[in-house]
C-alpha cells in the first residue's frame, strides 16, 4: 500500500500551506511534518511530499539533500538526537572533550545510534549558545556549560529516562 500521511499530519499540512501564496513555499514546513511522522525521509516519503504539494520529485529531493536536518538515512534516529557543538567557542571550552565523553559512555561514534535506539550522536556547528559553552542540544532542551565529565554523565542519565524528542 502506498504511504500516506495521518489525518493529524494532513491538518498540519493544510495549515502550513495556507500561510504561503504557493505550494512550493510550504516545502520546508511539510518536510518537517513528514520527518516528524516517519522519522526520516526515504524515497517513498519524498514522493509522498511531492504528490501532496504537486511539486516535482527532483525538486523535493534537491531540497531534502541540501539541508542537514533532513535525514535520508534508512535508519530512523534514536529517541534522543544529541547535537554536540564543536565550533570555536565550544572547542575553546572543551567541546571535543564532551563529544569524546559521550562517545565513550554510549559506545558509539559520531553519526551512530546506540543499539537500544535511545541515542544518536552528531557533531554540530555553532548552536548559538557560545556564552554557555560547551553546549549540547537535544530536541528542545539545552545542556550548557558541560565543563566536567560528571555533568555530561548526568545529562545522559536524565535523557535515558526522560527522552527529549525533536518533534
Amino acid at each position: 500500500m502506498a504511504l500516506s500521511f495521518s489525518d493529524e499530519a494532513m491538518q498540519k499540512i493544510a495549515a502550513a500551506r495556507s500561510r504561503y501564496p504557493n505550494a512550493q513555499a510550504a516545502c520546508l514546513p511539510v518536510l518537517h511534518i513528514a520527518q516528524a511522522e516517519f522519522g526520516y525521509l526515504p524515497d517513498e516519503v519524498i514522493e509522498l511530499v511531492s504528490n501532496t504539494l504537486e511539486l516535482p520529485v527532483a525538486h523535493v529531493h534537491g531540497v531534502v539533500t541540501f539541508y542537514t536536518m533532513f535525514r535520508r538515512r534508512r535508519q530512523p534516529v534514536g529517541e534522543n538526537l544529541l547535537m554536540v557543538c564543536t565550533n570555536i567557542s565550544c572547542m575553546l571550552r572543551g567541546g571535543y572533550r564532551v563529544l569524546d565523553r559521550i562517545s565513550q559512555k554510549l559506545g558509539i561514534q559520531v553519526d551512530e545510534t546506540t543499539p537500544d535506539k535511545k541515542f544518536t550522536l552528531i557533531e554540530e556547528e555553532c548552536l548559538a549558545a557560545c556564552a554557555d559553552a560547551p553546549a549540547v542540544i537535544c530536541g528542545p532542551r539545552y545542556f550548557l556549560r558541560l565543563d566536567t565529565d560528571e555533568k555530561v554523565d548526568r545529562m545522559l542519565q536524565e535523557l535515558a529516562t526522560h527522552p527529549e524528542p525533536e518533534y
Binding site: Q24, A25, L55, Y67, T68, L92, Y96, E125, C126, R141
Partner: protein, 450 residues
C-alpha cells in the same frame, strides 16, 4: 545622551521569568508602542528609523532606514525577519527570541506597517527547536489577543499584520538574505545574484526587506522615544546599543547589551571579569567567526562598526607580509563589528587549530554554487587541518593565503569572503604560528583538537 552600561533596550527582559508569555509581556509593557506607531504616517516611521542611525545587527551593519528606502516608491514590501542565527560565536538573537518574543513581534508589527507588508515571516534556524516553540506560542498568543491577524486602527484606516514562523532545516548559508528568501520559497538555499536587490525583487518576486532579529527588536524603543534619542545613545554613525556575545577564555562569558563606545579591553577586563585563570590574552575575534582576528595590542578599540573597520590601532590584513589585502577599490580590511560575537582566546590557544576548525566549518557550509568558494573552502580546510595536525608542508602558509585571496570578492554571496577574511586575518596576525607548522614534524595532537 550616550548610552551607559545600564541602558537596556533589547535585553531589558533577559532573565525575567514569564516575560515570554503574553500576560508577562503585557505587564512589562509589550505592545505599548503599537498605537503610537500605527497613529503615524508610514513615511514618518521610516524617517524616524533613518534618523535613529539604526544599523543592521546581523553582520553587515547596513543602515536600516536607508535599506527601507530602497523599496520602489508606492510599493508594499514583505518584511522578513532573519532569525537564522548561525554565525559561530553569535548567540544574541536566540536570547531575544527566548526571553522576549513579544518585543520581537511588536517590532514586526511596526516594521510591517511601515513597509506595508502583506504577510511577514520570521525565518528561524532549524536547530533552535526550543526557540521555535517559544516563538510560535508567542505568535499564537498575539493572534489570540488580536495584535496579529486583526485589523488595527491606523492613520487613515486599518492595518492587519499576518505573521508566520518559518523553520529552517540546517544550513548556515540561509542566514545570507537572498539564500534565506530562496529557502523561504521552498527551494535549496542558494544565494541569488544581486542586483536585483531584495528591496526591489525579493520574496515571491515582490519587494522585500530582510532584517535581523536584534534590528527589529529595537524598533519599538525608537518609535517610543524617537530616532534622535536612539542616535544619541550611540557613537558616530551607529545608533543605539549593541548586544555583544562574549565566549572563550574569560571569567564571565555572556550576552551583554553595551554602549557602542565600549572597547574590547573594557569588555574583557571589566564586563567579563578578566581572563580565565589569570592567563594572558593571545587574540580576539571581535564580531563573529567571519571577521579578522585582532591581537592584544589592538583591543583598545570600541566595538562600533566604523571604529573596528577604520581604527589605525588595528593593523590591516595582508595577503603576504607587507602587502595589504584589497577588499576592492583599494579598500583595506582591518576588522569588523560583524554580528557581535566576540571570541576571547588566551595564550594556551592553538591558533592554527582554531583556524582549521573554522575553515572546516566554511567548507561544510559552502552551498556549492560558486567554484572559488566550493573548491577553495575545501582546500583551506584540508591545508589548515594538516598544518594543525602536524603534517604541514613547506609553502602551506603561502598556499592558504593564495587560496583565500582567490576566493575573496569572487563569489555571489559573502560566504566566500567570510572564509577568506579570517584565514588571511589569522595569517597576518599569527603568521609565525603557521610557519612553524610547515615542517613535516608530527606534533602531539593539540587539545583542543581539530
Amino acid at each position: 545622551m550616550p548610552a551607559d552600561r545600564s541602558t537596556k533596550i533589547v535585553s531589558r527582559n533577559f532573565g525575567v521569568e514569564g516575560a515570554n508569555t503574553i500576560d508577562g509581556a503585557l505587564s512589562c509593557g509589550a505592545y505599548g508602542v503599537v498605537p503610537k506607531a500605527l497613529g503615524m504616517e508610514r513615511a514618518a516611521i521610516i524617517e524616524e528609523v533613518k534618523k535613529s542611525n539604526l544599523r543592521g545587527r546581523g553582520g553587515a551593519g547596513f543602515p536600516t532606514g536607508l535599506k527601507w528606502t530602497f523599496v520602489p516608491k508606492g510599493e508594499d514590501a514583505y518584511l522578513v525577519v532573519n532569525a537564522d542565527e548561525s554565525e559561530p560565536a553569535t548567540c544574541k538573537d536566540r536570547e531575544i527570541i527566548y526571553w522576549d518574543p513579544h518585543l520581537l513581534i511588536e517590532g514586526v508589527i511596526i516594521g510591517s506597517y511601515a513597509l506595508g507588508s502583506p504577510h511577514s515571516y520570521i525565518y528561524i534556524r532549524g536547530e533552535m527547536i526550543r526557540e521555535a516553540r517559544v516563538l510560535q506560542r508567542a505568535v499564537d498568543e498575539a493572534y489570540a489577543r488580536g495584535f496579529l491577524g486583526k485589523p488595527l486602527a491606523c492613520k487613515g484606516g486599518t492595518f492587519t499584520t499576518e505573521l508566520t514562523v518559518h523553520r529552517g532545516a540546517g544550513a548556515y548559508i540561509c542566514g545570507e538574505e537572498t539564500s534565506l528568501l530562496n529557502s523561504l520559497e521552498g527551494k535549496r538555499g542558494w544565494p541569488r545574484v544581486k542586483p536585483p536587490f531584495p528591496a526591489v525583487k525579493g520574496l515571491f518576486g515582490k519587494p522585500t526587506i530582510v532584517n535581523n532579529v536584534e534590528t527589529i527588536a529595537n524598533l519599538p524603543s525608537i518609535i517610543d522615544k524617537g530616532g534622535q534619542w536612539f542616535a544619541e545613545l550611540g557613537m558616530g554613525r551607529s545608533g543605539g546599543t549593541r548586544l555583544i556575545c562574549v565566549s572563550g577564555h574569560v571569567n564571565r562569558p555572556g550576552v551583554y547589551e553595551l554602549p557602542m563606545q565600549t572597547t574590547m579591553r573594557e569588555i574583557i577586563e571589566d564586563v567579563c571579569g578578566g581572563m580565565l585563570d589569570g592567563r594572558k590574552l593571545k587574540g580576539v575575534i571581535p564580531g563573529g567567526s567571519s571577521v579578522p582576528v585582532v591581537t592584544p595590542d589592538e583591543i583598545d578599540v570600541p566595538i562600533e562598526a566604523d571604529a573596528l573597520a577604520n581604527s589605525e590601532l588595528i593593523k590591516p590584513v595582508e595577503v603576504r607580509p607587507g602587502v595589504n589585502f584589497d577588499m576592492g577599490g583599494g579598500k583595506i580590511l582591518r576588522s569588523q563589528a560583524g554580528s557581535g560575537g566576540m571570541v576571547v582566546m588566551d595564550e594556551t590557544t592553538d591558533m592554527v587549530a582554531v583556524c582549521a576548525r573554522l575553515m572546516r566549518f566554511y567548507a561544510h557550509e559552502s552551498c556549492g554554487q560558486c567554484t572559488p568558494c566550493r573548491e577553495g573552502t575545501g582546500w583551506l580546510a584540508r591545508v589548515a587541518t594538516r598544518m594543525a595536525q602536524g603534517h604541514g608542508r613547506p609553502g602551506d602558509t603561502e598556499l592558504c593565503a593564495s587560496i583565500a585571496n582567490g576566493i575573496a570578492g569572487n563569489t555571489i554571496c559573502p560566504l566566500g569572503d567570510a572564509a577568506a577574511w579570517p584565514m588571511l586575518g589569522f595569517l597576518t596576525k599569527f603568521r609565525a604560528d603557521f610557519e612553524a607548522r610547515e615542517n613535516r614534524k608530527v606534533v602531539a595532537m593539540p587539545e583542543p583538537r581539530v
